[in-house]
């Protein structure tokens, strides 16, 4: 009995190991997308995953893919775990994905050193390694439309606007509520820099991943320090808890500003009326009133092919998934135009991404007029440091609160370049860029 079982298990394992993964049929573009629909961060992971998935399903259903080629879209579940992300990366590589979308900072860091060897570009949209914005050092990594450093910069600009000028910041106390992990600590250098420049006090309020839903002591500290503004660099279950605790502790929620990852509808909604006024940065519009979203509803949701409940379509994080889909699709189109091939590979995709220039006209052509500010990638700038705006939760939906805020490129860019240089030094043997520069028209 036992022996037989062991033997069967061994046979099963051998069959799996031996078979490997056959290369995909070459009449479609294979794109593997990391998601986390399970685990502690699924609350933020699900809507984003749904948005991108539905967008590509819509393209396949409506246009038959991109440039006449179907997109073979597949999800790989990571549960926000680096080891599983590595599995997903390897699977994507074996199946010939044109792009790797890690969806976690840890997974991005583990993949970046391999990108130029495996010839798979990495697209970490507004997360990951900030310094990878420097295309001269990281030709294979893209992190448009904005880095965390720009985000922190925009937040301080917003505070200055609200207080009536940068000179009014002097003596104010500004807090950073952050997940106690590299992701959360990312804005610290910029905030420290600006604190020195403008004379405000910076206070740090770390929240350990294990304490995401147990934040009362952090908010007591905020009350003790009489902090004037709090910037929330959180993700997953940390955000709704932060909004609630702010309201519980009597902190005015309209002085709590979340990074773009803290701007989910589900981050604000659970707190009910108490969340009214909660703010977050964003780089695209919310709501379903865009032709592209309507097309998704028509071609995907109404056919029952979406995993998202209908009322969630058009919510902020869902739209972010769509936004990502639009950028990727545009890059695929670019790659097809540049190479003249229909079925592209990772190298072509890299060139397509580098030639990305989402003008307002292009946004409109993609069915999303005025959906987001233009994104222009160049060989040395893989980020574009686009404008963000501040939105406010009105109890039911997000409403635009401020006009566009342009991050101070002259302040952030040198830091990015410094970071890139440090990365190249500490990764001894980091290759100099050899990839030809794409003419960005």
């Amino acid at each position: 009995m036992t022996l037989k079982k062991l033997a069967m298990g061994a046979a099963f394992a051998a069959a799996t190991l031996g078979s490997g993964f056959a290369a995909q049929a070459q009449d479609s573009i294979y794109f593997m997308h990391n998601t986390y629909r399970t685990g502690a961060f699924s609350g933020s992971g699900i809507p984003v995953g749904d948005g991108t998935r539905d967008y590509f399903t819509m393209l396949n259903n409506r246009d038959g893919g991109i440039g006449g080629v179907k997109i073979n879209f597949e999800e790989c579940e990571t549960a926000y775990d680096t080891r599983r992300s590595v599995e997903c990366y390897e699977q994507g590589k074996a199946k010939g994905t044109v792009l790797y979308v890690p969806w976690s900072t840890g997974a991005t860091l583990a993949a970046i050193p391999r990108a130029h060897i495996d010839k798979i570009p990495i697209f970490s949209m507004g997360y990951g390694l900030s310094a990878s914005a420097v295309g001269d050092v990281f030709p294979w990594v893209f992190n448009m439309p904005i880095t965390y450093w720009d985000g922190a910069n925009a937040f301080i600009q917003h505070v200055a606007q609200q207080e009536g000028g940068f000179d009014k910041l002097k003596g104010k106390t500004i807090g950073l509520l952050h997940l106690d992990a590299p992701f959360g600590k990312e804005p610290i250098p910029i905030l420290e820099n600006m604190a020195k420049q403008h004379g405000f006090n910076l206070k740090l309020y770390p929240v350990a991943p294990a304490e995401m839903q147990n934040q009362s002591s952090v908010w007591l500290s905020i009350r003790r320090d009489r902090t004037d503004w709090v910037y929330n660099q959180g993700w997953g279950a940390m955000n709704p808890t932060a909004v609630r605790e702010a309201a519980r502790g009597g902190f005015p929620v309209n002085r709590l500003v979340g990074v773009w990852w803290a701007g989910g509808d589900d981050d604000a909604r659970p707190a009910g009326d108490a969340a009214k006024g909660y703010r977050a940065l964003n780089w695209h519009q919310t709501g379903a009133n865009f032709p592209v979203i309507q097309d998704i509803i028509k071609h995907v949701v109404d056919r029952g092919q979406s995993l998202a409940p209908k009322e969630k379509i058009g919510e902020n994080l869902y739209n972010r998934g769509v936004y990502q889909g639009i950028l990727i699709a545009e890059a695929i189109k670019n790659a097809q135009a540049i190479t003249g091939k229909k079925v592209i590979n990772g190298e072509d995709m890299r060139r397509g991404l580098e030639a990305l220039n989402m003008t307002e006209a292009k946004w409109a052509a993609a069915g999303a007029p005025n959906f987001a500010s233009p994104v222009r990638v160049t060989c040395s700038d893989h980020n574009s440091q686009s404008a963000v705006y501040v939105m406010e939760w009105d109890g039911k939906a997000w409403k635009r609160q401020s006009s566009d805020i342009q991050p101070q490129k002259d302040m952030v860019r040198p830091l990015l370049e410094e970071g890139a240089k440090a990365f190249a030094t500490s990764n001894a043997g980091w290759p100099a860029r050899t990839e030809a520069c794409q003419n960005n028209s």
Binding site: A40, E211, M212, Q213, A237, T241
Partner: protein, 373 residues
Amino acid sequence: MSLAQAAPAKPLLSPAMMGLLKVLGAFGAIALAIVLLVQSGAMPKGSVGHKVLAAPFIDMWELPDLFAQTIWEGLVAGVLYALIALGFVLIFKASGVFNFAQGIMVVFSALTLVGSYEIMTQRLGLPPGTVVAILALIIAIATMFVLAWLVERIVLRPLVNQNEIIMLMATVGLTYFLIGFGEYIFGGNPKVMITAQLGLPTGSTQFNILGGRVNIQHLDVAAAVIASLMIAGLAFFFQYTRIGRALRAVADSHKAALSVGISLNQIWVIVWFTAGVVALVTGIMWGARSDVSFALEIIALKALPVLILGGFTSVPGAIVGGLIIGIGEKMGEGYWGPLLGGGIETWLAYVIALGFLLFRPQGLFGEKIIERI
């Protein structure tokens, strides 16, 4: 002199009281020493000594409202930790199993509650409100009963009398299964607890006292009241009912209980069911404070220092331990955390518990460990 030698016995106070007095005395001496040090100028303001030993207490003195609020928050957190720990203790006492799955039971029960409410209101079209919420509550309780029964049948019965680490492992297996199963049935997205529908209060009251404000959430008060009622109910159940007596007998000795005709299997189902109900209550309370998601499972780890502090087998230990840990960690994080860059809450609880353990290895209220060769 000779009198004292002649009558060595009969101490004035019980040993426990003496211990307490000693601890209080030590604290008093330390406090005096700190005051003297500060006054004498040996610890100038801004020095490390001042920051660690004096500044936090000065803070407490100067902002009494914040101090009161900190204590209150610690108290509330402590009650909730105690509730999770209670689930562990019940099962450990009766079946000798360190139930690692208690954390996921909290999530699973709360998910069942919210999930069945969602299904009933959205798919079946029942009117949202208290009636359906109560119905969902009944479904959740029934699910916990089925779970307890299945656990007893499938896991406990075949593993009876195994080493404790193997039982622990089995509950780890149960944890994995329940995570997978829960996510399969309810999906991974966080859900909002149906606080108002269950009739739980949601507002808050602000007291303007102590030269400031102390904010008290009605929900927290409700949590404390419900927890106390539940603990009282359990105590009554254990003390005065037939099943409760059987339960205590089983906790004392499996063999002796079996020999007087107590059905171990029945007792285990009851105990696991009780722990399931405790988990459900915990899930409702934590869920109402943030939301119901699988991230909540991690919260259950907070019960572990409470357990070693209070002892694995003691219900009062779980409560007192919970309160000590709750208040201790909120105070530590609030007043000493900034010195270390914050976020010390994750390990402070363990350090507090370890400190106690070094003096009482069996926990504050645990049974004295007697080892024989």
